[in-house]
Every structure is written in C-alpha cells, then in structure tokens.
C-alpha cells in the first residue's frame, strides 16, 4: 500500500498546506486548521485501531477531557499559559488512559468497543450533569493560551494564520513521531499484536503492557487534538465527549485506510470537507439539510469498493486489473 511515491506526495501536500493561508479566505483557513486538528485525532486513533488491532468507540473521552482541562485551568478573562496547560491536559489524558486501560484492555473485540464506549459516556455525564463541568452549556475560553519564553511571545495564537501554521506543524510532528515509533521495536510488537496476539505472547512478549502503552500514547495524542480544538473554538461543551465524535473519528480512520497514518489524516480531510460541501445550502439547496444521507452512501461505497480505504485506491485498482487480466 505504501509506494515509493508516498513520501513525495506527502511532502508536496505539506508544502501546499503551508502555502494555503497566502491565498485562502479566513473561513477556509480556519476550516482547514480544524481539519488538521481532526487529522491528529484520527492518527492517534489509528495507532490503536489500525496498528494494535483495538477498535475503540470511546476515543472522544480523551479529546474532550483535554479540552475541559484547558477550559478549567485557564483564568477566566486572561490568557492561559501554554507551557503549563498543555502538559496538564496531556498528563490528565495519560492518567485517564492508564486507569481505564487497565480495565478495558482485559476485553477484546466487541466487548472492547462496548467498554470504551461506556467509559467515554461516563465522562460525558460527569461533565454534563455536574456544576463542576459547567453542564450542557459548557465553558468559554475567552483568550487563547500564550506561548512565551520569559516575557517574549513566541507565537500569537490569536492570529488565525499563526494558529493554522502552528496546527500544521504539530500535525506534521505527530505524523513523523508515530512513523518512527511504529518502525521501532515497540511498533513492530504492536503490529504483531494486531496480527496474532496469541503467538506474540508465546514468543515471550508481555502483550498487555504493550497494549497499555499503546492505549496511553493514543489517548495522550488524542488529548493533544482535543486541547487544540478547545483552543481554536474557544469553547468546550459535553458534545466534544459524545459518542458522535468517537464515531466520526473512527469513520475517518476507516474511510482513509486503517493501518496507514497518512490514510487516517486523509480520512479526516475527506470526511470534514465532504460534510462541509454536502451541507452547503447554496450548492445543494434544501437537500443540504439531509447531508448525512449522502455521506452515509459515500461511506458505504468506500467500505464496499475499497477494502483498504482511500489510500488503498491504487493497490485495489491494480489488483482488480491483475485479476481481470488473469481471467482474460
């Protein structure tokens, strides 16, 4: 699935993304920044689903938790400190992953799906139904966190273009980081767990520890995405913890191609841009209200026709041609 051209294509894609704010309108720059945040989220989930073989339907728990940590830690009318709130948000996600991981990783398959969903729902109601969480109205983050060294501001995140490039930089870093990790001993063992956990244990790997580490890393990176999302929207409410979000990010991963990092990122781009397009009233008029119908059809079509997702398009076509050639 990974051809020699892939790094070239990815490099060009990043260059285009870097250049986009020079030509794009504000609305679209902010939209793409949101897409890139979701791409980080999708890559974090792909580590779990596509590389460790653990399908989670509760990944929004980490996304939302990090957002809420930022909202609670930020002073009400002043800017939060980036250097303290980010580690705090990521740390909270890592700890949450450690505790829930000990329990959810005792299950697998459909039960893993159910238990991860259950934990994220619990967190949803903690923030939804307690005064601590601000209830269903949520909490505003009036000022974006400041990134300072001493008294000098490094980046002004209030500037939507700066925020865009900042997000792009982090997305690229997360990609490169996961790419390295997956090629290491740790990553190879994870892929072994996905392929045949029983055999890997028989070879002497304490697979539970590997899965827990993967779960924590995945949750922490999802937290990074959640932190950025809260930062960009300037607002958190329980919706960011809901199973809709967990479901959407899982669909992004499946759409783009499980077990491919750039596939997950591509899934985020296609999913959100398509959603934006299909729900555009000036294009589709009254039908735009029912965009989910068209989206559903698209996802079913991809699932049926492209078993390896959108990134598998090339290899799927090649295989099909080869098979057709073999018969003819």
């Amino acid at each position: 699935m990974r051809s020699k051209l892939t790094p070239v294509i990815l490099f060009v894609a990043v260059l285009l993304l870097v250049a986009f704010p020079f030509v794009g309108e504000k609305f679209y720059i902010q939209l793409i920044a949101k897409v890139m945040i979701m791409a980080i989220f999708a890559m974090s989930l792909d580590l779990l689903v596509g590389y460790t073989g653990l399908v989670s339907l509760g990944h929004a728990a980490f996304f939302g938790l990090a957002g809420y940590v930022l909202a609670k830690a930020a002073p009400q009318y002043a800017a939060a400190n980036f250097w303290t709130t980010l580690p705090l948000a990521l740390g909270a996600c890592a700890v949450f992953a450690l505790f829930t991981g000990f329990l959810v990783l005792r299950t697998s398959g459909i039960y893993f799906i159910m238990v991860t969903l259950a934990f994220s729902q619990m967190l949803f109601f903690v923030f939804h139904d307690t005064p601590f969480g601000g209830g269903s109205d949520g909490i505003y983050i009036y000022a974006k966190p400041e990134i300072k060294i001493g008294e000098t501001a490094l980046l002004d995140l209030e500037d939507f273009k700066v925020l865009y490039w900042f997000t792009l930089g982090l997305m690229t870093l997360v990609y490169l980081f996961l790419h390295r990790v997956l090629d290491s001993n740790f990553g190879r063992a994870l892929i072994g767990i996905k392929t045949n956990e029983h055999r890997l244990r028989a070879l002497g790997f304490p697979t539970f520890r590997y899965k827990l580490a993967s779960y924590m890393l995945s949750g922490t990176l999802a937290g990074l995405a959640g932190y950025l999302a809260a930062l960009q929207f300037g607002f958190v409410n329980p919706e960011i913890l809901s199973w809709h979000i967990s479901g959407s990010v899982l669909m992004m991963v499946i759409l783009g191609g499980m077990g491919s990092l750039h596939g997950a990122a591509l899934g985020a781009f296609v999913f959100i841009l398509l959603q934006e397009m299909l729900s555009n009233q000036s294009w589709f008029g009254p039908v735009a209200k029912h965009w989910q119908l068209a989206m559903g059809v698209f996802i079913i079509a991809v699932a049926l026709l492209l078993p390896h997702g959108l990134v598998g398009l090339g290899s799927t076509l090649k295989n099909r041609r080869k098979r057709a050639g073999g018969h003819g």
Binding site: R180, V181, D183, S184, N185, F186, G187, R188, A189, G192, T195, N196, H198, R199, L200, R201, A202, L203, G204, F205, P206, T207, Y210, A213
Partner: protein, 259 residues
C-alpha cells in the same frame, strides 16, 4: 544421570469431568529428545499447552531448573513469562505472522529476548545482534533463501519450517515441538529430523510426533499416552518391546512385529 532440567510431576488437567491429562509425570534432560506418542486425543497437545502456559494445570507441578536462576514452578505462570524463562514451543497448527516476511517473523521472535521497547526512535531492523539471530534461525530451519518472502506465500512445508525457525530465534533451552513434521514432504522431514538431532546436543526437547520412523530415529526416551494417561515410559527399545504398548497403540501401526 544429571538432574532433569524440567520435571513434570503428577500433572492433571480437567475439562469439566474429562481428564485430558491425568497424573502425568516425565523428565526432560539437556542433550536428550523425549518423545511423547499416542493416538489422537491422548492429551499430548494439552500436555504441551500446560508446560508452555497456554493452559493452567488443575493440579501437579512443572519444575524448571533455570540457568543460574534457581528453580521455578511453571504451573500458573503466563505463557510469555515461560517463554522468557527459556522454554520455546512450536505449534501443531502453523501459527505465524502471515503478512510479514519470513525474516520479520524470526526477527520479531528474536526481538522478544531483547525487547528494548523503550527505544522508540530506533528502527527495529537496526539491531545487528537480533538480525543475526534471525538469519541464523532461518538458516537452521532450511529457509536461508526464503527470508524476504511473505510468510503467506510460503508453501505449507516451508511454513512449518518457519514455525520451527521462530521457536529457535527465541533461543530456548527447552524446545516443545508439537508435531513438527506434520504436513512436510519427505525431503523437508529428513532435514528437520537432522535438525532435531543436532539441536538435541544443547537443548532439552519434548517431541510430539506421529511419524514413528522419525520418533525412533531421534528419541532417547519415549512416553506413550492414551486417554490422558501415561501407559509406558522408557527407552525406545523397551517401549517397542512392551506388550502393553503394542496392544494399545503400536499394534495398529506396527502390526508386523508379532512375537
């Protein structure tokens, strides 16, 4: 004789009311092949699974004299722990990582000895020691030329060889081999029999096998199981001569040895 490296005593495994393994005792010595034979359903694979930790015994003990680390009772330990203690196994049903190359299968197996999982920025293929072990185990199992082939593309016999190569790559002291010859061609079988004999010099081997020619060619000690119980144990000559065994088991396969 030297102390056994593994001593199984009064091992029993009950599945509900069925005793799949019933009061089995046997010893494994370094430098020896101990073969376990018996008809299908005799409990041979269950015995292997109990020693390797895939199953937990109902009662009995499995005492392992680890190299310089004292004695362990393996009963109840997890399979990964037992593997790391130096007990490797190959599976009766080929159990390999199909999407990986043959080399990567062995590399992963060798990695298990030096997991170094915290070094998350160093490429897994860049450990010369691990690569060397993987290459060597492929070579031992006769797959030196096939390292870069995807495991799924290997022939059935080659997959069986890979199964053994992976086990070797974990550098065990004790080898539990569950029907290593099943499904192999005569050429490959000869190779594996020679390999087992060669490995026996430095390992203790528990061999479960239906191929009687191979068993009698390599075994120093033979245990016969029927319905979960040991009915005879001793040197191959003694077991071959046992009227008990001929009646219960060898009688069908070696019908020509009436006396």
């Amino acid at each position: 004789m030297a102390d056994p490296v593994l001593r199984v005593e009064n091992l029993t495994k009950l599945f509900g009311g069925l005793a799949a393994v019933n009061d089995v005792s046997l010893d494994l010595h370094l430098g020896q092949v101990h073969a376990v034979i018996g008809p299908n359903g005799a409990g041979k694979s269950t015995l292997t699974n109990l020693i390797s930790g895939e199953l937990t015994p109902t009662s009995g003990s499995i005492r392992y004299l680890a190299h310089g680390e004292g004695e362990f009772d393996l009963a109840g330990l997890s399979s990964d722990r037992i593997s790391r203690l130096g007990i490797g196994r190959s599976f009766q049903k080929t159990n390999i990582f199909l999407p990986f190359t043959a080399f990567e299968n062995c590399r992963l197996a060798a990695q298990s000895r030096q997991q170094r999982a915290w070094r998350i920025f160093r490429g897994a293929s860049r450990y010369a020691d691990v690569n060397a072990i993987a290459e060597h185990s492929l070579q031992s199992a006769g797959l030196a030329e096939r390292g870069q082939v995807n495991a799924a593309m290997l022939s059935h016999g080659e997959q069986r060889q890979l199964e053994i190569a992976m086990c070797l790559a974990t550098q065990p002291r004790i080898l539990l081999m569950d029907e290593p010859l099943a499904g192999m061609g005569p050429q490959e079988s000869l190779r594996i029999v020679a390999l087992i004999r060669q490995l026996a010099a430095e390992h203790a081997i528990l061999l479960i096998e239906h191929d009687m020619d191979a068993v009698f060619a390599v075994a120093h000690c033979l245990t016969v199981m029927v319905n979960g119980e040991v009915i005879e144990s001793g040197t191959p000559q003694a077991v071959r001569a046992s009227a008990h065994v001929q009646q219960a088991y060898l009688g069908e396969a070696h019908g020509d040895t009436h006396d």
